[in-house]
Amino acid sequence: MTDLLTVAGLETQFRTREGLVHAVNGVSFNLKEGETLGIVGESGCGKSVTVMSMLRLIPSPPGKVVAGQAIYQGKDLLKMSDEEIRHIRGAQISMVFQDPMTSFNPVLTIGRQLAEPLEIHNGLSLQQAYDRAVQMLEMVGIPRAKERLNDYPHQFSGGMRQRVMIAMALICSPQILIADEPTTALDVTIQAQIVELVKRLRDELGMAIIWITHDLGIIAGLADRVSVMYGGYIIEEALVKELYANPTHPYTLGLLNSLPRMDETDHRRLYSIDGLPPVLLEKPNYCPFAPRCAYAVEHCWHENPSLIPVGPGHTVACWVDPATGRER
């Protein structure tokens, strides 16, 4: 499979009252055709900012993408003219957001909002666009799709609204779908509906997906490959089975051990990662996880590790091998 998207050295900063926030500090990853990449991390780790930077959706000021490139179809998304990127956003790369209530326009009907990308990107007439909108709504499982075109966003429930959101993101048949915590606001039974829907659509339409989440459970059943982020860095990357079978970064290990599992039989004390996530007001010259890390050695405080291979397709940014507790 060829690389559809290659992001290299992405750096984004925000100017705030407290100072310069280093939200993303040199993130690199690639996405293959038809692949599902999970980006996992806690709030403030830079996972959303990474994809927003890539699509040039960071409000500037205060934000600024200060370095890096994002190559899509041989061209750098970060260097394109506004006109060029508009033809890509929503048409070839589209996005589903966490909160379906605030990402729709409340005063336009669903039909109007679904038709808009088709009119803009594909030059369809309103009638053609409405017909396609009905097809899409049926595809994502909205009953009475035709009548519901005239409804407003508030007339849909949370789960249904997220379905409409997905329909809108997929209406121009994009090659890449970016889903930013699309199920976080939903109840677990509705979340299961949406995950099943996305899996089905992925198999039918063959698009690549970047799924951003803090939930290691969802990503286990959905992604092909996973990148774990911490403090604005990718700190571990591997194929999904490899990551869960051999988590290697102390942070990934800690996260997995801090989750209670439904298939556990004994009561164990949850592993807890001490301390707090980093404040990103400086770009550390040490490992960003060192202050919370149970394995930290002297070296960790002097140099920030970069990703090194530890297995096939498995890279990790850590000086220490947690299996032995010694430096690699």
């Binding site: 806690e42 709030s43 429930s157 789960g159 249904m160 109840d187 677990v188 039974t189 509705i190 979340q191 299961a192 509906q193 995950v195 099943e196 803090h214 939930d215 290691l216 459970g217 969802i218 286990a220 059943g221 999904v240 089975k241 869960y244 079978a245 800690g254 996260l255 997995l256 801090s258 989750l259 209670p260 599992r261 439904m262 298939d263 556990e264 039989t265 009561h267 004390r269 949850l270 592993y271 807890s272 990662i273 001490d274 707090l276 996530p277």
Partner: protein
């Protein structure tokens, strides 16, 4: 094993009126938030209460503590019916039951120092004041893993997890017997959730606390609870020991709910069979007749629309409300 009930809830009902008009308000309907719920909480145990948003689990917690007055029903705490109590008597009982709230940002007064927040219950109930109060506050802070020197700081100086610890310290101030934990970890990051859950477990062991743990995270509830009750649209549909409930769920809703929870293990996920429920939760203003789950139940029969299923004990300690079990 015979256990002593600390709290007994009998046929608890809470309706919120929907009114129309500004000066002359006319009731035009009611939200059936909690509709005939009965259960017991034993001394020293953790009862988990799970369900999706809007199922009435928080309302149940608040109605038990009389933060909402129930429409009908009884709540016996140490043999006394809280519903019948008012004024000074009720206030006296409140010392024995406290609450930890979901949102660690909204539940602490931003203009009070941490010392004032934790000390306020001591003052109100006349337990301690002055130097003695200050000592108690510092002890409480140490107990929840915060630096006792923090008592002069304000809530905004703390992170979410630390604020939740402040909320726990406040709840512990009056040495209560029962703490209602209303989604205490939902607003926290994964790595911080474990810290707070471990703290709650340690405190329970140390102080012999009884918890009603309300949450929508089923794996966390399974971890922390001794018994678990599942709510759907204002009613408890199933209640059992946690292993019994998670290994042998009997109610179709419990089965679907459990199968929807993702497991952080790709190999286990591949093998799993999911029961995907169709549609959304109906409105609690007009709940379905008979069994409330019948509109989404894959097994629903004619009787489910006609007769409300009885909440009955099908095996020792395992209660379920379903015609088909």
């Amino acid at each position: 094993m015979p256990q002593e009930a600390l709290l007994r809830v009998e046929h608890l009902v809470k309706y919120f009126p929907i009114t129309r008009g500004i000066i002359i308000q006319k009731q035009i309907g009611a939200v059936h938030a909690v509709d005939d719920v009965s259960f017991e909480i034993y001394k020293g145990e953790t009862l988990g209460l799970v369900g999706e948003s809007g199922c009435g689990k928080s309302t149940t917690g608040r109605t038990i503590l009389q933060l909402y007055r129930p429409t009908s029903g009884h709540v016996y705490f140490d043999g006394k019916d809280l519903v019948q109590l008012k004024g000074e008597e009720l206030r006296h009982m409140r010392r024995r039951m406290q609450m930890i709230f979901q949102d660690p940002y909204a539940s602490l007064n931003p203009r009070m120092t941490v010392g004032e927040i934790i000390g306020e219950p001591l003052l109100i109930h006349g337990v301690a004041r002055g130097k003695e109060m200050q000592d108690r506050v510092e002890k409480l802070l140490a107990m929840v893993g915060l630096n006792p020197a923090f008592s002069n700081r304000y809530p905004h100086e703390f992170s979410g997890g630390q604020r939740q610890r402040i909320g726990v310290a406040r709840a512990l101030a009056l040495e209560p017997a029962l703490i209602v934990c209303d989604e205490p970890i939902s607003a926290l990051d994964v790595s911080i959730q474990a810290q707070v859950v471990n703290l709650l477990e340690d405190l329970q062991k140390e102080l012999g606390l009884t918890y009603l743990f309300i949450a929508h995270d089923l794996s966390m509830v399974r971890h922390i609870s001794d018994r678990v009750a599942v709510m759907y649209l204002g009613v408890i549909v199933e209640l059992a020991d946690r292993f019994e409930l998670y290994n042998h769920p009997l109610h179709p809703y419990t089965q679907a709910l459990l199968s929807a929870v993702p497991i952080p293990d790709p190999v286990a996920e591949e093998k799993r069979q999911r029961i995907i429920l169709q549609g959304d939760v109906p409105s609690p203003v007009n709940p379905p007749s008979g069994c409330r789950f019948r509109t989404r139940c894959p097994l629903a029969k004619a009787i489910c629309a006609e007769v409300k299923p009885e909440f009955r004990e099908v095996s020792p300690g395992h209660w379920v409300a379903c015609h088909l079990v």
